[in-house]
Amino acid sequence: MAPRALAATLDTLPSSSADAAGPGHDELRDLYRMLSNVRQLDRDAVAWQRQGLIPGYAPMLGQEAAQVGAGAAVDRSRDFVFPTYREMGVAYTFGVNMVEYMSTHKAIWHGGLYDSVATRFAPFQAVVGGSVLHAVGWAHGQTLNGASAGGLGVGLAFLGDGASSQGDVHEAMNFAAILKAPVIFFVQNNGWAISVPTEQQVAGGSVAARAAGYGMAAVRVDGNDVLAVLEATRRAVAHARAGLGPVVVEAMTYRRGPHSTSDDPGRYRTLDDEKIDGGEDPLSRFRAVLLARGVADEAFFAEADAQAQHQANDIRAGVVALTSRPGSEMFDFVFQESTPTLGAQARQWREESEHV
């Protein structure tokens, strides 16, 4: 694969209030902690699948910087995240309860057990490109509500390079640009859609490059550099928050693991490919930055990593303790107001399956 170009147009985006001086030392250390926590949890989740604790999982190994950077750039009190099925790192950064999040991978509830409204994190989404339009509609709702003192609430839609091929994503970008909706299309271009490389997927080679055709702002950023992602996303959010319209942020990263725990990447790429295309690991890179800036030392990393292991163990215990939901919930959540037909079906189910 050719080196993945970064056509940044950051200059055209306003700087966010926070980034004048850049993140302070505490924030930098926090970012490392989050990266480490997410890395550990992701690794462990793969192990849980091998152990039979969960039937499947979609690892985000290699995408930690993109996800933590993006998640840290939005405001939990007024923005709203629209994830796909691979945004564990964003969920973590956004404060979603990780046991409730992992419940979907334990096959307990499709959307996850977390409260989407309280966390401002939309349900787990299995349809590729499925929630991108929702982010546009939600964001347009913020425009209709009118800006508060601090500006508009911003919708953060996640999508992959593969998702960019879906018609819905085009409709979303066009609607957003026409409505000037405060929405960020955050693309994790991780090089692959299952077995299909980006070159066979994204004609022209860049999702960010499509934005110009909609008269929309865009930035392509090194998705393995957490600070670059954080800054680019903060600027994009500031742009949208100010009512200046949508932005595409394309984070160039790499899916270091398999598509999911049932995938076998050896069928479509070599370990050498992975080494070359994957580039330097986002965590090692950030460690080096922190060391160079004197923000952290090895003791800090050791402690943060130990903490991460500790936390992942706690989450594991929570996941182990998760039990199946009662079958009656199949019926309970179909509607806000159930119907006679559904009520009768629920009764019959109880009689025949629970023998009540």
């Binding site: 546009v136 939600w138 964001a139 819905d168 026409i178 959540f333 119907t339």
Partner: protein, 340 residues
């Protein structure tokens, strides 16, 4: 403005076309519920290709009533997001046949968001779909999607057959916290009828209604087929055959009790619809009635429906949509049936 509205609301009985009745209901919904929004293709300045949203953008502004780009999946997906943001979207797709591009958003998102979010993200979305055939229009302007919609868990589906129902059922649908597909029989848009604006007992808006009583057989229909069945009943009455006409109205959930009550009395049933025969909603109705009235039925339930062919061009429409003759043949078959 709202005083005039109040006055108008007090007027008990009006002669309105269905198009006018829907327009009036939409105006009142926007007036009463400031989270309600109307959007779709050409619903703004133009007032819709059928003028159903006529004057609403002028009255409520382009924030409440707006034109979207030409993309039905975009319309539905945006509606879902707006509902997540606490709005009550009332989107339109311009014609039945152009709901297909939105099917993915309808089935995988609109109908499931409440479920997926464990009730945290309700979808109070009323999707208006000018539906069914009979207007000699180009391809894809005459289709019946009720069977598709009714099969989707998480959707409710309703179709009015006259202006009075259109007005009240739309207001009812828009007040519901769940997604409702509102199928407007476009062939009936211009037929006038009496509309009593007084708020009815809302329970009267649930389930089916008997549009005409009779004792020899029940004609079961919805949308534009109700008036056709009433014509058939009129004709049959001249021969002393008293047909009951049951207007199903709610296509999901189906009023199983109402169906059973009528057919267990008449002991014969004919279900009539425009959509293709195989796996049409008539199959569900026939299956329900065959089960609930197994002992009382004196003949197999007849289905008089569209054929398993693409909806044809205007010249052949009358050959495709159940016409009076074909319905009468169906009636004859159930009346003449003798156990072998």
């Amino acid at each position: 403005m709202s005083e005039i509205l109040e006055l108008v609301r007090q007027t008990p009985l009006l002669q309105l076309s269905m198009q006018q009745a829907i327009n009036r209901a939409l105006g009142e919904i926007l007036e009463d519920d400031d989270r309600a929004l109307i959007f779709g293709e050409d619903v703004g300045v133009l007032g819709g290709v059928f003028r159903v949203t006529d004057g609403l953008q002028q009255r409520f502004g382009a924030n409440r009533v707006f034109d979207t780009p030409l993309a039905e999946s975009g319309i539905l997906g945006t509606a879902i997001g707006l509902a997540m943001a606490g709005f009550h979207p009332i989107p339109e797709v311009q014609f039945d046949g152009f709901a297909y591009p939105a099917v993915n958003q309808i089935i995988t998102q609109l109908a499931r968001m409440n479920y997926r979010s464990r009730g945290r993200l309700p979808m109070p979305v009323t999707l208006r779909v000018p539906s069914f055939g009979g207007i000699r229009a180009p391809e894809h302007h005459g289709e019946s999607l009720e069977s598709l919609f009714a099969h989707v868990p998480g959707l409710k589906v309703v179709s009015p057959s006259n202006p009075q129902q259109a007005y009240h059922l739309l207001k009812k649908a828009a007040s519901m916290p769940d997604p409702v597909i509102f199928m407007e029989p476009k062939a009936r848009y211009w037929n006038k009828g009496e509309v009593d604006l007084a708020v009815e007992d809302t329970s009267s808006l649930e389930g089916s209604v008997i549009a005409r009583s009779g004792k020899h057989a029940t004609l079961i229909a919805w949308g534009a087929m109700v008036s056709r069945c009433l014509q058939v009943a009129e004709l049959a009455a001249e021969d002393g055959i008293e047909l009951e006409v049951l207007d199903l109205r709610w296509l999901k959930p189906i009023d199983e009790a109402g169906l059973a009550a009528s057919v267990s009395r008449t002991r014969r049933a004919i279900v009539v619809h425009e959509g293709p025969h195989t796996a049409g909603l008539g199959a569900e109705v026939a299956a329900l009635v065959s089960q609930s009235c197994f002992d009382s039925l004196r003949a197999p339930v007849e289905r008089v429906t569209g054929f398993d062919v693409p909806y044809p061009s205007g010249d052949l429409e009358d050959e495709y949509i159940p016409n009076i003759d074909r319905i009468l043949f169906g009636v004859q078959r159930v009346l003449e049936y003798r156990r072998g």
